[in-house]
Each structure stands twice: as structure tokens, then as C-alpha cells.
């Protein structure tokens, strides 16, 4: 008993001595200090945490890692591969730990990259950006999705912290034979889209295949409706939580009503609230549903069974301008604790080079750069062309969950409740606004 009590006291004393967390913001590196000659860096081991675990991703990153190590035999890559969810859950501990990875893929959102920048866990890349001319290589729209100010609260401003390899779009997949059987062309306008949904329904087909059990599909539908009634600039500001924009607007009311209308008219899968997203994808790819709204990462999954029977569309244009939800794959960032930041930057430069983009595309992924130069056919061609058009236009709107630290839970939960009629349109927009307000007031 005495010993136990003594140990308890010791433990409490040890605890009391430390306040959790630390302040470890790195000094900004002067541009002149950057070394780009990897061969002269001596023996270097780079520990890299990535989430390139799916088929095409795994193929491209293994190939690029091999090429990099062959080109620079003095560099050894220690790759730690985790799925997206696993990486997101463990990277915080990884970056704060004593043997932090040199390079990690960090989610763009405020609760991830924003929080890490605020805590000084990531190294600003501006010096490297000028040394490697990343500013010329990457368009501003892409660089913005990896930039934060020191406060970590406004995505798209401040310094560059990460660069992506791939692009992502949320668009409309469609079943070609079904559309032809209905006597329709792929819809180019919203009126044609409405007509296609109505015609599919009356012909006994399921118009939109959707499964929202994980709540991720709901916001895709809502974003699509926002593109119909809103404008890209306003939507981008809302998505990143800028000052001066708010949720309760006429455009957003119309968008919310639109989503509810799709549900009420029976255009969505019966019981979509209890259907898993993956199950919806597999149902669509086996011929259940005319349209399916999803991200371009499902292209390999639907192409395999459907071959040339599937196509990909951007949301219909409004006033001749395209607006589409999308972004980049997870940016690659350098830990501020890395002992070899120069070698790490050389690696990021290597995996985002024009040659690397070819490797990325060959493995069936959507490269963030040079999409128009890649050879592909069928739905992959559709996706590459759509990305090329969207990435070079001001109409690429970020995901809605970048705005606040809780945005993902709030947005997905609110859309789910809007669709299940637990929230009306005003209540829905009010809930989104409340999250925005608490985030603005809170920090």
C-alpha cells in the first residue's frame, strides 16, 4: 500500500510539472540557404507517411519511389503507407512525436493542415517554391489549396505548405446505354438534367443512385444543387469560411429546396439514408441507376465492370460558366522536425514533375498537372478533360468542410437531417451558419 501510494504521488508530481503541448514554430528559411543538389547531401533516410494505398495510387507511388532511389542512390526511402482514415487519425501524433516523419500527406482542411500550421509542425515551402519554380509549375488555384497563414485559419492565404500529385472533381457519372434507351443525350443544361431525371423516373428507372449511410454523399448532392443556383466566388468563400459571406441566402435556399425535391420526387435510391456509399457505387456499376454523383476517385471502380458504358459529366453550366466541387489529392508536406528538409523538398519536386504526372496518369489516377497531355480513353478521357477545364477556370470550388474545425461533421450531419426532414430549409442553413459563427467568434 505504502509503495503504491508513493508511486501515485510521484506520478502526480511528474504530471503536474508539465503543461501539455509545446510551442515549436520553426524559423523561416532564407531562400539562399536552399540546397537542391541531392547527390551531394550524403547518406539520407527519408521517412514518408502516405495514403496512396488503393490500386492505382499504390502503383504510381511505388514506381516513383523506385525511380527516385535509383536516381539518387544515397537516399533511402522509408515508406509508411496508411489508409486515408488511418493516416488522418495518426498523423497528429506522428508530427508531434520525437521521430516525426520527414514528409507526410496532410489533409487540406482547417482541422488538419490549418491546425498543424498554427502549431508550427509544418515547414513553409516558399523558399523551395522559388528554387524549384513550383510557382510556374502549379497554377495559383492549386497552390492556394496548400496555403495557410501562420494563424492557420484561412485556407488559400499565407505561405505554401504542401503540393499535391492528383486532382479530384465531384461530377456526374452516367450509364450510357440507359441514357440511350431513354432516347436522351448526356445533359448539358440544367433543364436537360431535370428532363432526364423525370424521364428516367417515369420509365421505371432509378434516376440517381446514392447511398448516404456514411453521410458523405449528401453534401455532394447539395454542392451540385449549389452550383445550379449560386456562383463560384461566393461558394468558394463559404467553403473556406471567409468573412462577409453567410449561409442563409436565396441561392442556398433554392439549393436546399432542390435537394429535398429530388428526394421527394423519388429520384434517389429508396432507403438511401441506410445504404452504404460503396454499395451505391457497386449498384450503379452493375446497372442500377442512370446517374451517380461522386468523386473522380471512383473512376477505376466503375470502369472495371462497366467498361465503355459509363461516362463522366461536369455539372451543367450556368451562364456559360462551369462551377464544380473539387480540389487536389492530399498535399505532400514537410515536417518542421525533419533533419533533411532539402532532400524532402527534392522528393516532392520529383513526384510532382511532368514525368511523374505521366506515371500518375498511366496508373489510372487523375494527375493534377498536364491532364490534357495524358493518353486515355472512355470515362478516363472524360475525367481528364473535365479536370483540365475546371482547374484552369475560376469555377473550381473547394469542399464544404474546409470552413470550420467541425465543418465536416456539421455539413454532413445537416444535409442528412435536411433529407430526412428533421430540419427544414431555414433550420438547415441556420445550423450551418451557427457553426460558421462559432468558429469566427471562437478564434
Amino acid at each position: 500500500m505504502k509503495l503504491g501510494a508513493w508511486l501515485c504521488t510521484a506520478a502526480v508530481l511528474a504530471l503536474a510539472a508539465c503543461t501539455p503541448g509545446s510551442d515549436n514554430r520553426p524559423a523561416q528559411q532564407p531562400a539562399g540557404d536552399v540546397k537542391t543538389d541531392v547527390a551531394a547531401m550524403g547518406q539520407v533516410t527519408l521517412t514518408i507517411w502516405d495514403q496512396e494505398t488503393r490500386g492505382g495510387q499504390q502503383a504510381q507511388i511505388s514506381a516513383l519511389n523506385d525511380q527516385f532511389q535509383r536516381k539518387y542512390p544515397n537516399v533511402r526511402i522509408n515508406r509508411v503507407a496508411r489508409s486515408f482514415d488511418d493516416l488522418r487519425s495518426t498523423i497528429k501524433l506522428g508530427l508531434t512525436g520525437n521521430d516525426a516523419p520527414d514528409i507526410a500527406q496532410v489533409n487540406n482542411g482547417k482541422q488538419d493542415m490549418g491546425a498543424f500550421v498554427k502549431a508550427g509542425l509544418l515547414r513553409p515551402l516558399d523558399a523551395y517554391a522559388s528554387a524549384y519554380q513550383w510557382t510556374q509549375r502549379f497554377p495559383e488555384s492549386v497552390r492556394k489549396l496548400g496555403s495557410y497563414p501562420d494563424t492557420g485559419d484561412a485556407l488559400g492565404e499565407g505561405r505554401l505548405y504542401g503540393l499535391p500529385q492528383t486532382g479530384e472533381l465531384v461530377g456526374i457519372y452516367y450509364n450510357k446505354p440507359k441514357l440511350t434507351a431513354l432516347g436522351l443525350q448526356p445533359p448539358k443544361t440544367w433543364a436537360e438534367f431535370d428532363a432526364a431525371l423525370a424521364k428516367a423516373k417515369s420509365a421505371g428507372q432509378l434516376p440517381i443512385q446514392v447511398g448516404n449511410l456514411e453521410k458523405s454523399a449528401g453534401p455532394y448532392l447539395f454542392s451540385l444543387a449549389m452550383h445550379r443556383f449560386g456562383n463560384a466566388d461566393e461558394e468558394s468563400k463559404l467553403a473556406t469560411g471567409r468573412a462577409g459571406v453567410n449561409w442563409p441566402t436565396d441561392a442556398n435556399r433554392a439549393a436546399a429546396r432542390q435537394v429535398v425535391e429530388w428526394a421527394d420526387k423519388g429520384y434517389l435510391t429508396p432507403g438511401f439514408a441506410g445504404l452504404k456509399g460503396d454499395d451505391a457505387v457497386s449498384k450503379f456499376s452493375t446497372g442500377d441507376g442512370v446517374f451517380h454523383v461522386d468523386g473522380t476517385w471512383i473512376t477505376p471502380t466503375v470502369k472495371e465492370p462497366m467498361k465503355d458504358d459509363v461516362g463522366f459529366l461536369l455539372p451543367p453550366e450556368k451562364d456559360g460558366k462551369v462551377t464544380v466541387t473539387g480540389g487536389t489529392g492530399l498535399p505532400w508536406a514537410i515536417s518542421s522536425k525533419s533533419k533533411n528538409p532539402d532532400a524532402a523538398a527534392a522528393y516532392i519536386d520529383f513526384i510532382t514533375s511532368p514525368d511523374a504526372m505521366k506515371t500518375v496518369a498511366t496508373a489510372g489516377n487523375l494527375p493534377v498537372l498536364d491532364a490534357d497531355k495524358q493518353a486515355a480513353s472512355g470515362v478516363e478521357r472524360d475525367v481528364l478533360d473535365a479536370w483540365n477545364k475546371a482547374a484552369n477556370s475560376p469555377g473550381l470550388v473547394p469542399y464544404l468542410d474546409y470552413a470550420t474545425p467541425n465543418a465536416y461533421e456539421v455539413v454532413t450531419g445537416s444535409v442528412e437531417q435536411l433529407l430526412s426532414k428533421q430540419l427544414d430549409v431555414e433550420g438547415f442553413l441556420g445550423k450551418l451558419q451557427a457553426d460558421l459563427d462559432s468558429s469566427r467568434g471562437g478564434r
Binding site: 501515485c8 503541448g21 445504404l275 461533421e409
Partner: protein, 306 residues
């Protein structure tokens, strides 16, 4: 010989003064024996527990320097909607994870003992099987059963009903799976307990004219008091710390947040929304609750036996 005997006696005399200090009195050397276990316990259980308690006194995002806020995190737990709802849901789950399985387990065990069913080992194994299967597998299997195009809707003739996507039925659906998992455990515990009851007790009850109900009340129930206590303790703790089943079957807290549980809130706050202090506070609260409930159950179960 004599010398040997006297030497023996002498050594016995030398031993006895030590013993006379009191038989069974703890000696310091005892601590040495428990030291390895104690060290492991302190390092991996006591220290993390105290550390969590310490963290719960801070407003900390897990990254930057935390600020000491005293008991603020605990005060907020009572005030805010999210945590209160999570503890409410776990109350409902205790009914499904603990109370129902114990009741059903008692009925099943009694029935299996009285009616000598053919292939008893088979039924016993089948009912215990859910305990052996990993929770993740259980969750995925039941997700398919509850799916809009799943077996349940086919049987009930309600195609397209989203049991897991409806805030009115999601918690119920998870609860039913919990009952299915825990009943086997309770039943096996009770079967073992009934087997230990001396046959004379049953004979005596029957001689006194007790029917099946009377026999259950007068013989089985009192004899199983200990087993019921164990079953309740295990299942209530399983309910309090449930995470995998809920997280897998109804992602992100379920429809309208209707299936959030404390363990989910801890995960969400600590790993995603950057509220480590608040997460630790929930953790401490659920630990204290588990201690209190366990103490209560053992106290009730042990009380009337003496």
C-alpha cells in the same frame, strides 16, 4: 541422534519467535513479489489514467500549448447537448446490452436445463458464437441485414426501409445486435451456475409442491445470484464502453446524431475536432461511472447471500 534432535528443536525454537509475531501478517518481502505486476499496472494503466485526468483539466487541441481551465471541461459536459445525448444513448444501450440478455439468458438456461434438448452442445455453441466473432464482422453482417434491400426488409415486406438511416430506429437496431451478442455470454454463465445446484434442492422444492415457476424463484434464482452479478457487470461495462458496433453500423454518430455514445465522442474530440481536454473529461467520467455501476452491482449481488 540426541544431538540431532536437540539441534532440530533448537532450530524450531529459533523459527517460532518470528512466527509468534502473528500468522499471516504481511511482510515487507511481499511487496517484492507483487512488484513486477504492480510496475506493469502502474506504467500501462494507472499512469495513463492519471494522465487523462490531468489532461481533462486543460483546454488543449493536442498540438499547441494547453491552457489550464480547472473543472471547466466537466462543467461543460453537463451543459452541452452532445455529451448529454451520448450518455443518454448509453443508458438505452444498457437495457439492450445488459438487462435483456440477462433476462433472456435466464429463460434460455432454465429451459435448456429442464427440457433435455437433443444436441444441447450445438445450441449452446450457436448461441455463444456471437461472443467469439469480432465486433467489426458482426457490425458488417448486421449492416447487410438492416440494409434497404436487406433480409429484414424482405422478411417484413418493407422494401427500401432505412433502419440504420432513420433517427427513430438506428439506436434500436444497434441495441438489438447488442442483445444478440451478449445473450450467449449470459446464458453460458447461467448454465454453468445451474449445473452446480445440488439435485437435492430441486427434489426438496418439488416435494414442497413447487411448479416450474416456483422452482425458478425458490431454487434457481437465488443460486444464480453470483452469476447474475458477474453477467451484469460484464455486459454493463460492455455497454458503457461500446464503440466498434456503433461506429461501424452508424457512421459519424448515426442519423441526426441519434447513436452517439461516450466512446465515440472521445474518439471524435480527441482525434478530429481537436478537443483533447474535453475528450479526456468524458473518458474520466465514463470510468467513474463504470466503477460506480460495478460497485453497485457487486454490492447488490453479494449482499443477500450472506
Amino acid at each position: 541422534m540426541v544431538a540431532e534432535l536437540s539441534a532440530g528443536r533448537a532450530s524450531a525454537d529459533r523459527v517460532s519467535p518470528q512466527r509468534s509475531g502473528g500468522v499471516g501478517e504481511p511482510r515487507r518481502v511481499g511487496y517484492l513479489y507483487v512488484l513486477p505486476a504492480l510496475a506493469v499496472y502502474v506504467l500501462f494503466l494507472l499512469f495513463p489514467l492519471l494522465h487523462s485526468g490531468w489532461l481533462s483539466l486543460f483546454d488543449w487541441d493536442g498540438l499547441s500549448v494547453g491552457t489550464f481551465t480547472g473543472l471547466d471541461n466537466y462543467r461543460r459536459l453537463f451543459a452541452e447537448e452532445g455529451a448529454a445525448a451520448a450518455f443518454g444513448h448509453v443508458g438505452v444501450l444498457i437495457l439492450f446490452f445488459a438487462v435483456l440478455p440477462v433476462v433472456i439468458g435466464l429463460v434460455l438456461a432454465t429451459a435448456m436445463y429442464r427440457v433435455k434438448v437433443r444436441g444441447l452442445p450445438f445450441f449452446r455453441t450457436a448461441l455463444f458464437l456471437p461472443q467469439v466473432v469480432a465486433m467489426v464482422v458482426v457490425a458488417v453482417a448486421w449492416q447487410r441485414i438492416f440494409a434497404p434491400d436487406g433480409v429484414l426488409n424482405q422478411v417484413l415486406g418493407t422494401p427500401g426501409r432505412a433502419w440504420l438511416g432513420d433517427s427513430g430506429t438506428a439506436l434500436l437496431a444497434v441495441g438489438i445486435v447488442g442483445t444478440w451478442v451478449q445473450t450467449g455470454l449470459a446464458m453460458v454463465l447461467f448454465l454453468g451456475g445451474i449445473g452446480k445446484i445440488p439435485a437435492e434442492l430441486f427434489d426438496a422444492a418439488r416435494l414442497d409442491g413447487a411448479g416450474p415457476a416456483g422452482e425458478f424463484r425458490a431454487v434457481i434464482l437465488p443460486a444464480l445470484r453470483g452469476e447474475i452479478g458477474v453477467a451484469l457487470t460484464l455486459t454493463v461495462i460492455a455497454a458503457l464502453r461500446t464503440f466498434d458496433l456503433v461506429y461501424m453500423m452508424t457512421p459519424l454518430g448515426g442519423p441526426g446524431g441519434s447513436t452517439t455514445v461516450p466512446a465515440y465522442e472521445i474518439y471524435q474530440r480527441a482525434f478530429h475536432s481537436g478537443q483533447v481536454g474535453s475528450a479526456a473529461a468524458i473518458g474520466v467520467a465514463i470510468t467513474l461511472l463504470a466503477f460506480a455501476v460495478t460497485y453497485l452491482i457487486t454490492w447488490i449481488a453479494g449482499r443477500e447471500r450472506t
